[in-house]
Structure formats: C-alpha cells, structure tokens
C-alpha cells in the first residue's frame, strides 16, 4: 500500500475542495453586493461628489459592468493573485491583509492551543475521576456559558481595571516591535533575541485568547470525556488493566488515543466557529487583526476588502479541517486503512467525517 500516493491524492482532493469553496463564497458575496443598497463610490468620493464624477469612478473601478462580468473579472484577478484594491484604504487588499492577518492568526493560534490543552485536561481529568476535577469543570463550564464579549469585558474589569495586572487593548506595549519574519510577536521576539517582546506579547494575548478559548475548550473537553468514559468500559481497556499496566498508561496510551476521533472533529468545528469569535473579541480589545479591519470595511461598503477577508477565512477553514482529518488518520489505523481503500476504488470522498459512522 503506498502511503505517499495516498497522501498526495488526499491533499489534491482538499485543494479541489478549497477551490469549490472559494468559488461558492465569492459568488454569494457578489450576489449580496448586487442586491445591497450600499454605494461604495459615493462613500469614496464624499457627499459632494457630482453624478458625473461618480459615473467616471464607477467606470474606472469596473462597477459599470453587469454583475456577472464583475464576478469574472474578480476571478481573473484572483487567479493572478490580485485581490483588488480596497475602496477605503486605497491600497491593494492583499497588502492590507498582510498587515492585519498575522495579528489574527497569532490570536487564533494561541486560542486554539489553549482550547485544546484545556479541553484535554478537562476530558482526561474528569473521565479519570481524579481529585479536584469538579472545581475545574465548574469554572470552565461557568466560563463557557457566559457570552464571549461579557467574558472579555469582565476580564478587563478585573485584571486591568481592579488589579492592573494585564494590559487592556492592543497587541503589544513596546514601541517598534520586530516586523518579521513570522509576524507572530511571541515568536519574532525570540528569533530576534528580544525576549521582552515575547513576554509583553503574551501579556497582551492572555485575556483575549482566554475569552475566545473557554467555550471551545469545554465543548472539546465534554466530547472527549464522553468518548473516554465509553472507551474505559471497553474490553481492550480491561485487557490493558489485566496486563498490570499503570493507571496513567492505561488512560493515555490505550483509552485516550482511541477516543480522540470525536474530540478532533469537535476541534475542527470549533476552530471554524472561533474565527467568528475572534472578530468580536478583536473589537473589544482593539486588536489590530482582520476582525478589526472587517469591522471598518463593512460600513463603507468596501467590497474588495470584505471579499478578501471572506476568502482568507474560507481557505483557513479548509486548511484547519484538513489538519484535523490528517490527525484523525494518524490516530486511527482503521480509518487510514478505509481511506486508502477508498482512494484506490475511486470512490468519491467528501471529507472523512462521512466515513466515520
């Protein structure tokens, strides 16, 4: 069975899926734009613009064409790596995204990491009935049942307002932070030997990423707990116990690996939802990411900017789910076997989750 052949096919399928998603998303966006009453040119030129000036600008932007033609022009640009010009900033959308995206990615990355770690802890500890799990569960579930913005504002009031332990807004408090190579301050700080930047960046990250992560953490933890408890009652775990293995080994090596499937699916799902959460949280913390960028683009009808952000989120969603699916394949050899067989028999495969039953 050739593994590399299988993985190449797998990745190609995912790229194909991403193309379909991009086409669908942009089509929906163009449709919405065509039925909306927003007039970006008006916003661009100001209230006093003459009708002739507006018409000229429309021609310049290609907005005089029928919506189908506009759509194909956009797609043509897209193929050539051109996301268009932002009406508001008057800069290429691609370079705007390059400015704002790293901040969002950094926040999303640490939020997801935190959600997974907390979820794992919650799941394993509560399934293993270790001491003190009840307290952790109570705190996390209380956190998860609070709306995100409230959590964020509450966190600000306590840790910034009362205790003054953490900063309130922005991404970093140090002037002229390193501007590369990754765009993650926490990593760039280390790479540039400036650990102060890393520490400061973490301080700024703490509140927003907690606010984003708690909900997903509880979802992941609950699913994991359920499948762990189920796994513990299965015979292969009894077999492992009958071998005289330690409790921790039985729980991690035998039970955990076989219960990861549902938790991983949940992680993929939550990662998608998390972007929505990040947009709100960025607003509360004035985090200079794409959420913030979007919030400013929408009122001015900055269509290329909105479309660019949407595309990035759509592709990001595909990438995250691909990673989750690969992780599931890694965790479950039976699934791997089944998937390889599917590729061989040329059976259409739309996502792995359909085959899990």
């Amino acid at each position: 069975m050739s593994g590399s052949f299988f993985f190449i096919k797998f990745i190609l399928r995912r790229i194909a899926a991403a193309v379909v998603i991009v086409l669908g998303l942009t089509a929906v966006l163009f449709f919405l734009q065509s039925i909306s009453h927003s007039n970006p040119v008006h916003a661009m030129l100001g209230a006093g613009a003459t009708p002739s000036a507006i018409a000229a600008e429309k021609v310049k932007l290609g907005l005089d064409h029928p919506v189908f033609v506009q759509y194909f022009n956009y797609l043509y640009g897209l193929i050539h790596g051109n996301l268009g010009m932002s009406y508001r900033t008057r800069r290429p959308v691609a370079s705007d995204l390059a400015t704002y995206l790293p901040a969002t990615l950094e926040l999303a990355f640490y939020s997801l990491l935190l959600a997974v770690v907390l979820g794992l802890l919650l799941g394993v500890l509560s399934a293993g009935e270790f001491r003190g799990t009840g307290v952790l569960r109570a705190i996390l579930i209380a956190g998860a049942s609070t709306p995100q913005f409230l959590l964020a504002i509450g966190g600000l009031l306590i840790f910034y307002g009362k205790l003054n332990l953490l900063p309130a807004t922005g991404r970093i408090g140090i002037a002229n932070p390193p501007s590369g190579p990754t765009g993650f301050y926490t990593i760039d700080g280390i790479l540039n030997g400036n650990f102060g930047v890393t520490i400061d960046a973490f301080k700024y990250l703490l509140l927003p990423s907690f606010s984003v992560a708690i909900g997903p953490a509880v979802s992941i933890g609950r699913v994991l707990r359920g499948s762990l408890i189920e796994a513990i009652s299965l015979y292969f775990v009894k077999t492992a116990n009958s071998k005289g293995l330690s409790r921790v080994r039985v729980l991690t090596v035998h039970a955990l690996r076989n219960s990861l499937g549902p938790a991983l699916s949940m992680t993929g799902l939550q990662a998608g939802l998390m972007f929505a959460g990040v947009v709100v949280i960025e607003d509360v913390f004035a985090w200079p990411g794409i959420g913030y960028y979007t919030a400013q683009s929408i009122p001015s009808g900055d269509f290329p900017a909105i479309a660019g952000v949407t595309l990035v989120l759509g592709v990001g969603y595909v990438i995250i789910n691909t990673i989750v699916d690969l992780a599931q394949l890694f965790a479950d050899p039976r699934l791997r076997h089944l998937e390889m067989a599917n590729v061989k028999t040329k059976k259409p495969l739309l996502g792995l989750s359909a085959n899990q039953g």
Binding site: S233, T239, H254, N258, P333, R334, K347
Partner: protein, 659 residues
C-alpha cells in the same frame, strides 16, 4: 441424553493440592441504577495448579463479576464493596495496595475476554500490545507459536482489524500466556466465535494448561463448553453457588434441581423432534427470591423453607457439594408429549408454495478490496411451502443472514428472482429483540403499532392485541409495562407477538434464541413452532446451532462462502452429512460425542494449524480446510449433486446425479 455431555477422558489433573486461588465467603456489592445490589453471596471457590474451573450460570448470575473480582478489576464507577477473602498465590487481593495488585497482574494473572473484536486495542499494532506483557521479542514469538498462529512475525506487524476473529482470540490467549501466569480468567472466551473455531480454541486451552500448568477460571453460559473443557464445574445463580464439583459427575448425575434443569433444557442432537421441548412448569419468567434459595420460585421441589432460608452446603461426594434443602425427588425429565407436531418432510411438498427464491446473487461494494465488489451470495435457491420450517446454518460470513434479509425485502438482490405467492410481506424476528423495541413505549402500544396499517376500530384493535397476547402467553401485567422493564425472554415474546399480530405467511428468524438464557430457549422454540403450526406459517430459521436447526426444521440448508453446499431432510443432514464442511460443523459441537466409541471421541483433534475460517478463493470454498480435498477441489467450484430429489451436496466427492 445426559451422557452426551460428558467430556472425553483427558489429562486428569490432581485437584486440591497446589492451590493458586481461593475465594472464601466472598460477598460483593455493586452500585447499579443508583442502588447498591448484592451481586455475589457467600461464594467459596478454589482453583488448583493446572485446573480448569468452569463457572456456569445464566446472564445476571454474577459469573463475570466473580472473574473481575479475582482480577481486582471491578469497575470503579460501580463503587464495589467486597467482603470475604480472595487470595491469589497467597496474597489477599482485597487488602493489598493498588501497586501490589498491578504487580500481581503483571506477573501472575491474565485475562481473556469474550469478544476478540473489542478486547485488543484497535489502534496499536500487535507487537506493541505484546510488548506490554513481555519485553523480549523472542517470547512474544514463542507465545504466538504456542497458540498456533501462522507466520507470527507478520502478525506482530499488523493491527487487530487486519486479523480474523479466531486469530485475534489466539493473539489474546498468546498475550495472556506470554508472562506464564499462574491463573487465567477466561470470560466466555469462545462465545463470539464460530463453533469450528471454538473447538480449536478449547483444544488449545486444554493443551496449554497441560504444558504450562496454568489454572483457568472459565466463565461460560454453555454447559457443552464446560463439559468439553473443565475439571470442575461451579453452578452459579443470582450470585449463589448452588452446586460445585467434578465436571463428569455433575453433568452425568446432577444433584441440584437447578443443574438438572440446566442440563435438561440443553438442546442436543438426540432431541425427539415429535415432542415439545421440556420447559419449566413453573413460571419461567419468575424472578429470584432474594432471601432464600434464588431458584425457589422456579423449583419444583421447593419447600416453604426454601423461600426464606438459603440452604447450607452439603456434601454429595468428595469435592462435590450442593446447597439445597430438598434435592431428592428429581423433576420428571420427561418431555410433555404433544400430538399436533407431525413430521413434515413428505407431507409438505404437496402444500402450496408461499415463497420462491431463484438463483439469488448478491454482491456488496467493497471498501477494502481492489476489485471493488465482494460476492456474498452465489446462486441460492429456496422453495418454501406453507407451514414448512427450513433452517439455514453456517459459519459467520456464510451469507445466511444476507439471504434472510433479501427474503425479507430489507436488502435488494443483485440478480435472481423472489416470488411471493401471497400479498403479505414476510416478517422478521431478530436476534437482539431487546433493541428492536422502543424502550419507553408499553407493550400494548408496541403491539397496536404493529397493527396500524389495518383499518380497524378501537375495540377491534384492543381485541386483536388481547388475542395475540394470549397466543404468545403475555400477561396483562406485561402488556401494560414498558419494553425497557421486561426481561430478555419477555422481550423476545413481544417481538414475536409483533410479527404475528397480523400473521404473515412467512416468518423469518435470525438467530432468535442465541441471545437467550438456556432456560428460555426451549420456551421460545416451542412458541415459534406452535405458532407456525396453528397459523400455517412457514419459517426460515437462521442459526449457527445445528442442534436447534435439526429440532425446529424439516429441512436444513448448509451455507458456506455464499453458496448452499448441502441441503436435505434435517435428520439426514445431521446423521449422515454428505459435505465434509457439514461434518466438520457437527464435529465441532461442544459437549456432543460424535463418532461411535470413546476412543474416536478422544482422538478428535481439531485442526489448529491456524487456518481459521479462511475460504479458498478458487474452487470449493472449503478446499483449504477439507481433509479429503483432491486436485479438482482447488480449481473448480463443485455444483450441486443430487442423491435424491430433495437432497444434494455441492462436493466433488459426492456421487449422484444432477437434478
């Protein structure tokens, strides 16, 4: 009849000395459904070096709990409370620390569980799982060779799902053996296996205990298996030991009324087909009395005393004890004679045909093979006459259930024709009837629901429900209770009632008794047969148990690899099998002494070369395993050879004509 249960005289192990495990006055309470229930009561037990002790009992008797107690593995979630003494190799496992218990399990205790599909970790290669028991690869390989695994090196590199059920159970046994434990707790280790594989595994276990002197606590519900393998039998009911002693003696001359019932209710190859099966004349669904003897409610010998006081242990012979106030008058082990059940074979052919299946083929889209499809049924014919009972027997994967599902219309045949000579669709009774009933509906609602296609008034519906309840012997109390609160036997009755409330001309039964306790099987079979007679309903009976097939049906069709390899009158198929595969199935029946002399029985050594159920891809599917296979068997698929008008076998070695 009782004679057939006696195991062939094999290696006798001295009992009593070299004790490796002892249980004295053991009481176990577990929390179930928010209540603490007393699962094991005053259990005493000893296991000697190299001794196989069979723990026999119905579901809920606490036999698995006893096994888990010996392993120190009672589930924490059920808050176990243990009183009494359990010692293994001299250490009292109830009072030692978790660490010491783990050490004991690491070095001297092993377990084999029922389902080989679920008792190995699905995401770990066999090598890693073996390594947790023995660090040295040599020992792992040695253990795998001991259990007759073919190509052990390649098996080590595979995942459990890449092995067959038989191979997995062998790996499980190898893993249990690799540390050379003093005691192995085997919890129904062969129940999920085909009879042919079961025979191999039982033989293997007997050999291993002779070679290594390992003691076994062998938990089973099957007296035949116990007869085949055990030195000592312990009969457990509702957590109480009712009888305990040497296998041969107990199974030949059971002393306790409950043991007698267990043995009498066992369906054997000698069962007279013209008689109804013997059932317990008292209510077979009666619960256990909690204070006195748990069997008192069902016992024909019961005294008033039995209901209030559990009897003390009395000695029958050396090492043979029973707990019974009134063992002497033996229950009449005579079947109740009935006149309505006639022999059918010559009579049925004149009755009208209700269902015909002609040249049925079925292939499934395969997910794992390159060719893309898997042939499950090839050219299967069946003509079913009114009131006739036909059994389909064969190992798992033989296609018998698929064929049944096609007859029921639940699955579409790939080619072939099904002719239903009548408007009603066949109905189906499933193996796990419990899960086919909606738990929160009452039995009355469930039965009404089965009628809803008809246009009837409310009063008529109520009457139909009462009628069918009377037919299948369900009390008003049962009618009003919810499906979830019924016992297994009652649920099976409700499932049958749902099928016959508007009687179909054909009833299809998929292993309807294999999930039932032995004491309930007879009642269920009697019910199905009497319904078939009174309603002139034809039945197709899928079963893996040839004794059941022989008793219920007039005709048996033996299936292998999706083909019918033998068909004929049930008595003839069982007494004079034509196909070597049928012979092998018959020889594998546990607790049945085939062959004429004890020597022959003793010499019966199943093939343990590890071939398992592998089917030959070309030629006769049985060629790999067939002792008589000749050249042509491996190249050409045999066609049906008729030795009489309704008796044929698909075997190159059978002489006869075509149809």
């Amino acid at each position: 009849m009782e004679d057939t249960l006696v195991s062939p005289p094999d290696i006798q192990i001295a009992r009593g000395n070299n004790e490796i495990a002892s249980v004295v006055g053991l009481n176990v309470w577990l929390r179930r459904a928010r209540q603490e229930s007393h699962i094991l009561k005053d259990v005493d037990l000893k296991i000697g070096k190299g001794e196989i002790v069979a723990l026999v009992g119905e579901s809920g008797s606490g036999k698995s709990v006893l096994g888990m107690t010996l392993l120190g593995l009672l589930p924490k979630s059920s808050r176990p409370r243990i009183e009494g003494e359990v010692s293994i190799l001299g250490s009292k496992i109830t009072s030692i620390s978790q660490k010491e218990l783990q050490g004991l399990r690491r070095h001297s205790l092993s377990a084999i569980f029922q389902d080989p599909m679920s008792s190995l970790n699905p995401s770990m290669k066999i090598a890693s799982q073996m390594k947790e028991v023995t660090k040295e690869l040599d020992r792992a390989l040695f253990a795998l060779r001991q259990v007759a695994i073919k190509e052990p090196e390649s098996v080590l590199g595979r995942y459990p799902f890449e092995l067959s059920g038989g191979q997995r159970q062998r790996v499980m046994i190898a893993m249990a053996l690799a540390k050379e434990p003093a005691l192995i707790v085997a919890d129904e280790p062969t129940t999920a296996l085909d009879v042919s594989v079961q025979a191999q595994i039982l033989y293997l276990i007997k050999q291993l205990r002779a070679d290594f002197g390992t003691g076994f606590l062998f938990v089973t519900h099957d007296l035949g298996v116990a007869a085949e393998i055990a030195d000592t039998v312990v009969v457990l009911l509702a957590g109480r030991v009712l009888e305990k002693g040497p296998t041969k003696e107990i199974l030949s001359f059971p002393a306790h009324p409950y043991t007698k019932e267990l043995i009498a209710s066992r369906l054997t190859m000698d069962q007279d087909q013209s008689l109804r099966l013997r059932t317990n004349p008292k209510d077979q669904f009666a619960g256990f009395s909690s204070d006195g003897c748990p069997y008192a409610n069902r016992c024909e010998n019961a005294l008033d005393l039995c209901l209030v006081e559990f009897p003390g242990v009395s000695m029958v012979q050396d090492n043979w004890t029973i707990a019974c106030h009134n063992p002497s008058p033996s229950p009449k082990a005579v079947a109740v004679e009935i006149k309505t059940m006639e022999r059918r074979s010559d009579l049925d052919w004149n009755k009208k045909v209700v269902l015909e299946a002609i040249a049925i083929e079925k292939s499934f889209q395969s997910r794992t093979s390159r060719s893309g499809s898997r042939q499950v049924l090839t050219n299967v014919d069946l003509t079913l006459h009114q009131g006739e009972v036909v059994s389909l027997v064969g190992e798992s994967g033989s296609g018998k259930s698929t064929f049944l599902r096609i007859l029921a219309g639940l699955e579409k045949e790939s080619s072939g024709t099904i002719i239903r000579h009548d408007d009603t669709m066949p109905k189906m009774v499933f193996q796990d009837s419990g899960s086919s009933l909606t738990p929160w509906l009452s039995v009355r609602e469930l039965l009404k629901e089965a009628l809803s296609s008809k246009t009837l008034s409310k009063a008529e519906i109520a009457k139909e429900v009462e009628d069918v309840a009377a037919k299948v012997d369900l009390s008003t109390q049962v009618l009003n209770s919810r499906a979830a609160s019924l016992s297994g036997g009652q649920r099976q009755r409700v499932a049958i009632a749902r099928c016959v409330i508007s009687p179909p001309s054909v009833l299809l039964c998929d292993e309807p008794t294999s999930a039932l306790d032995a004491s309930l099987v007879a009642g269920a079979l009697n019910l199905l047969l009497s319904l078939s007679e009174s309603l002139e309903m034809a039945m197709v009976f899928v079963t893996h148990d040839l004794a059941v097939a022989r008793y219920v049906s007039s005709r048996i069709m033996v299936m292998l690899g999706g083909r019918v390899v033998e068909s004929g009158d049930s008595n003839e198929v069982c007494s004079n099998p034509l196909h070597p595969y049928t012979r092998m199935l018959l020889d594998s029946l546990p607790g049945e002494r085939r062959g004429n002399s004890p020597q022959e029985a003793l010499g019966r050594q199943p093939d343990i070369s590890g071939v398992d159920n592998e089917l030959s891809a070309v030629g006769c599917a049985f060629a790999n395993r067939c002792p008589n296979a000749i050249e042509i068997c491996r190249t050409t698929t045999p066609v049906a050879t008729y030795i009489s008008s309704n008796r044929y076998a698909a075997c190159h070695l059978v002489k006869g004509g075509t149809k």
